[in-house]
């Protein structure tokens, strides 16, 4: 009945290793297929699962390896076509997937909207209607307070400024239209409008770029623990996470895949990634794990490089330092309770200015210093909270992307020499979209602006 296709993350945030993006609506298959590379999802049987890679068709960039469940109407939860995309990579990747499908035609679902559709399409019976309404109310209230919390004060100020620029421009065009006889209001020119639109577009663009960093803040700084086998990486993970999730044994090569954990270190959110010890190996499973570790190292924002103080620095250690060269890194010399074989001067030299911390994870020594070093890197380093304005809410990002498109349309129309009152349609749209981000009511404010900015009347 409602034609548009909605999408949302349908696993609770932060729970479970697998996260699902769910699409529902007439276009669900088409949209999923558009970004899915291995198979034609529109042709597969209903209620099957397909393995494949998501690719952004505009940039050809690989986004994620996923499993997609295809379920065709009417035997689905909403009685509409549904595609569920399962991603393994935690919150960051599931967010990326969501944004991808939003970019290619889906609309972010309102709170409780899947259930609402299920009901409206007759899937849920009457006795449950009350529950549906409850759900909508409570989810909306929660989503609203959440969105508000995620709204950084600087961000809303910035958006407000952009909107002010836009509305002054729009009011100017409007006043030329509604009061053509007034000669004391100069005509808005194509050049001026273009300049303003371009300005706002630049800002929106910057915001979208920082959106990536915004995610870092919310989802945690990607922090990879790397090191040779058996140096104590999993032990470090467990200590920082106050948890025994990673298996610790004396057998080198215990950890064979990437393990993720969200932790908070002195107010800094980390997405800790324990990796398989990196070494040349013949074991197939371990080989894949090692490959993933290298990948993790590349995606990470911060590296914790663990060394064993009980043995001298090896070529493998030096290779790891080399791999982490351009990244924020902290070197950790572990097992200080044992006999020190490592030459600390050598370590400092290869660390090239990165902090070097000594620990005994078994005796829980040096943990404070390590935590402090992590916090310092974050607050003094490149990921500085103070300078950047973050956008992290998916809805906000979608609105910004739409605003960006509307501005593109406006600029293109100007290029084509369209009259200003048509160009202005897209400018007004941008203004409305930005307004939705900060939850501002749009109805009367344009008219208010018109009469406060210009002197009109008989």
């Amino acid at each position: 009945m409602e034609q548009d296709t909605i999408a949302a993350i349908s696993t609770p945030l932060g729970e479970g290793a697998i996260a699902i993006v769910r699409l529902s609506g007439d276009e669900a298959l088409a949209i999923a297929n558009h970004v899915f590379s291995n198979k034609d999802l529109t042709q597969v049987d209903s209620h099957t699962i397909q393995y494949g890679t998501l690719v952004d068709p505009k940039t050809d960039e690989k986004v994620e390896e996923v499993m997609a469940s295809v379920m065709k109407a009417p035997k689905t939860f909403t009685r509409e076509d549904i595609v569920e995309i399962n991603c393994h990579g935690g919150m960051v990747s599931v967010n990326r997937v969501l944004q991808l499908v939003l970019r290619y035609g889906a609309r972010l679902a309102e709170p409780g909207e899947f259930t609402k559709r299920a009901f409206l399409n007759g899937r849920i019976d009457l006795s449950q209607a009350e529950a549906v309404m409850d759900l909508i109310r409570s989810k909306t209230d929660r989503a609203m307070s959440l969105a508000l919390k995620q709204m950084d004060g600087r961000l809303s100020q910035l958006i407000r400024d952009l909107r002010q620029q836009l509305i002054e421009t729009v009011a100017h065009v409007e006043v030329n239209i509604d009061y053509p006889e007034y000669d004391d209001v100069e005509e808005m020119t194509n050049e001026l409008l273009k300049e303003r639109a371009q300005n706002v577009k630049n800002e929106v663009h910057t915001l979208l770029r920082t959106a990536k960093q915004g995610k870092i803040l919310r989802e945690g700084i990607g922090t990879a623990i790397i090191g040779k086998p058996n140096v104590g990486k999993s032990s470090l993970m467990n200590i920082l996470a106050h948890d025994d999730k990673a298996i610790v044994t004396e057998v080198p090569g215990t950890t064979r895949d990437v393990i993720e954990e969200y932790v908070n270190v002195r107010g800094v959110p980390l997405r800790l990634i324990d990796t398989a010890g990196i070494r040349e190996t013949e074991d197939i499973v371990e080989k894949i794990g090692v490959e993933r570790s290298r990948q993790a190292l590349q995606d990470a924002d911060l590296i914790l490089l663990v060394l064993n103080g009980n043995e001298p620095l090896t070529e493998e250690d030096r290779a790891l330092f080399e791999a982490a060269k351009d990244l924020d890194a902290i070197a950790i010399v572990n097992k200080t309770d044992l006999n020190q074989q490592i030459n600390m001067d050598e370590v400092r030299e290869v660390a090239q200015g990165s902090p070097v911390i000594t620990t005994s994870l078994i005796e829980e020594q040096g943990i404070d210093e390590l935590e402090q070093a992590i916090a310092d890197t974050f607050f003094d380093g490149e990921v500085d909270q103070g300078d950047l304005t973050y956008v992290s809410n998916v809805r906000h990002i979608q609105l910004l992307e739409q605003a960006n498109e509307a501005l593109d349309d406006a600029l293109e129309s100007m290029e084509m020499g369209m009259p200003l009152d048509l160009v202005q349609i897209d400018i007004t749209r941008t203004w409305e979209l930005l307004g939705e981000i900060i939850g501002e009511d749009v109805s009367e404010s344009l008219i208010d602006q018109l009469f406060s900015q210009f002197c009109l009347g008989k």
Binding site: G417, M418, D421, I425, C455
Partner: protein, 629 residues
């Protein structure tokens, strides 16, 4: 008291709203009575002697496409006409005419007199006859009782009107007509929410006392123009307006006397419109402006009165005089009528259904300034709609509600009944979210069929309209089939227009889409074998050139319509809908929207409330099905 007759519809007032209401009701076949204070002042213009302008001019065309009168009358009685915004896009072009005020009234009166089913009578209505929440008729001052189950009140600024000039104030309608007191009090007693609004008008001066040499001439267009799609005779002999300016000295005088202005003396006053500020407002709010425009507009061919647009004021008469002395060209101007402000009662319009019937009193309709609007065109548009709907109710015919994508009239009424207004409401193009669809050039395409269905458009006109539509379609089809080859001739023409040469053959429509191309050029390249009327050519050009934008707007309209089509029963008990936010519930109870779409526009209702409402309504439907099984 005596029994004076029974009618289907009674219209109180013969201003701009009343006239259209009476005509529309009578044309639909309702036996209609119009009562008004003074038969010599029918469709009187108490302010600007002008009709149209951006948005408003489009409304006049909409009225015309719906079979109304305003366009036809102004076409016959104007002293000059101009097409505005010609340098801008088609969506915002509009006509404005300066009216011969007196002729306009006379012409309107003649039209009313000749309308079948319509009785015109002078008289002041003193009381509405209301029984059990339904209107039964009206009683006049002279004790005549007229009966009808449908009554339309269009009493304008007369409701407890009060004129203000400096420290002088007295109860009065506009231009020293008698105010309407008892009717206004009765509405109060019936439980209607009433607001107090105000507006003002500038002085009129004698043309002989103006030194026009110090002003700039503002002529009408040389091309003949008309509002009505039926007009065939044009007025070519036009009279110019003139432009002059206030200056620093003028502003000083106003500033010095501010405390003497009725509106600035500190007394509590009704709310005035921001878009028509008095000169006092302009000086106070924009004190950095060194000068303000003053347009001198003749009020007609047979009078020397000139309307001084830009100097609306409620300063004392002697200050008005001092002010004029500082304006170039007006140094010796003789004031014939002083400017004044007027305060009046208006009904809070959220108390109305979109048909303009009041929710409180069955069969009672209100239209025009009484609904919180300002402007002749706004009044006329509402009058027509109220007339159509009152007749529909009387004769058990189809009612008419226009939506926001169909007409500015629809935008206005939806705004009024859904959001209300806290100042006198005027139409602006920016109030319409689909203004590209609500153009001045396509009002007939949007509304003639509807006017025909409502019996307001005669057969002959409808046939002509159908023919026009066929011509447009045929020509667009032709251009979509003609392929232009990159011949020397074609390349040369394109180059002359500043376009880049063709690489390949191209369809004529696609070439027309290029910004530098006009229909005229395309026809040179792709000649047709028959002549086409200019309006048809214009439509072809607009529809082709702006197709992309029009499509985009249409998609938005489709979305809106989906919500508009989900109906809400008139008597829905919102207390029964759990989970609505308290504020939303209160607002919805007051407005009682007729569709989910309308509900979503009520301020304070957010998307979650709309979802909850949808689920609730669906639940009702399921319940009904269950009960029937």
């Amino acid at each position: 008291m005596y029994e004076a007759g029974r009618y289907d519809v009674i219209v109180i007032g013969a201003g701009h709203a009343g006239v259209e209401a009476g005509l529309a009701a009578a044309k639909r076949g309702a036996k209609t009575l119009m009562l008004t204070l003074n038969l010599d002042l029918i469709a009187f213009m108490p302010c600007n002697p002008s009709v149209g302008g951006p948005a408003k001019g489009v409304v006049v065309r909409e009225i015309d496409a719906l079979g109304g009168q305003m366009g036809k009358t102004i076409d016959k009685t104007h002293i000059q006409m101009r097409l505005l915004n010609t340098s801008k896009g088609p969506a915002v072009r509009a006509l404005r005419a300066q009216a011969d005020k007196v002729l306009y009234q006379q012409e309107m009166k003649r039209v009313l007199e000749n309308q079948e089913n319509l009785t015109l009578r002078q008289g002041m209505v003193e009381e509405l006859l209301v029984e059990d929440g339904a209107v039964k008729g009206v009683k006049t001052e002279t004790k005549a009782c007229y009966y009808a189950d449908q009554v339309i009140v269009t009493t304008g600024t007369f409701m407890r009107g009060k004129v203000l000039i400096g420290d002088i104030e007295y109860q009065s309608g506009p231009n020293n007509q008698r105010p309407t007191i008892t009717l206004s009090e009765q509405l109060d007693d019936l439980g209607f929410d009433i607001v107090r609004f105000k507006t003002g008008t500038p002085m009129r001066v004698n043309s002989h006392s103006i030194d026009y040499s110090k002003t700039e001439i503002q002529p009408g267009d040389e091309v003949p123009r008309a509002f009505s799609y039926e007009t065939t005779e044009y007025i070519l002999d036009q009279i110019p307006c003139w432009l002059t300016y206030t200056g620093e000295v003028t502003h000083q005088i106003i500033d010095d006397n501010l405390a003497k202005s009725a509106m600035y003396s500190g007394a509590e006053r009704g709310t005035g419109p921001r878009y028509c500020p008095s000169i006092e407002d302009k000086i106070v709010r924009f004190n950095d402006k060194p000068r303000h425009q003053v347009f001198l507009e003749p009020e007609g061919r047979q009078t020397d009165e000139v309307y001084v647009q830009g100097l609306s004021t409620s300063l004392p008469e002697y200050v008005q005089k001092e002010m004029l002395e500082t304006v170039p060209g007006l140094e010796n101007a003789e004031i014939m009528r002083a400017g004044y402000a007027i305060e009046y009662d208006a009904v809070v319009p959220t108390q109305l259904w979109p048909t303009l019937e009041t929710k409180k009193v069955d069969g009672l309709f209100t239209a025009g300034q009484i609904n919180g609007t300002s402007g002749y065109e706004e009044a006329a548009g509402q009058g027509l709609m109220a007339g159509v709907n009152a007749a529909a109710k009387a004769l058990d015919k189809e009612t008419l509600i226009l939506d926001r994508s169909q007409a500015y009239i629809g935008v206005m009424i939806d705004d009024l009944v859904t959001k209300g207004t806290d100042e006198p409401y005027r139409l602006l193009t920016s109030r319409a979210e689909y203004r590209l669809l609500l153009r001045h050039d396509n009002a007939d395409l949007r509304l003639t069929d509807i006017g025909y269905d409502m019996e307001l458009i005669p057969d002959e006109r409808h046939e002509r309209f159908n023919h026009k539509q066929e011509l447009i379609e045929a020509e667009i089809k032709r251009l979509s089939e003609v392929r232009l080859k990159p011949t020397d001739d074609v390349q040369q023409t394109i180059q002359d227009k500043g376009g880049s040469p063709l690489k390949d053959g191209v369809l004529a429509v696609d070439l027309l889409r290029r910004p530098e191309m006009t229909y005229e050029t395309i026809v040179q390249l792709a000649p047709r074998d028959h002549e086409l009327p200019v309006e048809v050519e214009e439509q072809v050009e607009i529809q082709v050139k702006y197709e992309g934008y029009i499509k985009k707007s249409n998609q938005q309209v489709d979305k809106m319509r989906k919500m508009e089509n989900k109906k809400i029963p008139e008597n829905l008990d919102y207390d029964d809908v759990d989970n609505l936010a308290t504020e939303a519930r209160e607002r919805l109870k007051r407005v009682r929207p007729l569709s989910v779409g309308q509900a979503s526009r009520v301020s304070g209702v957010n998307p979650a409330d709309v979802s909850i409402l949808l689920v609730y309504l669906e639940q009702g439907k399921h319940a009904k099905v269950a009960a029937n099984e």
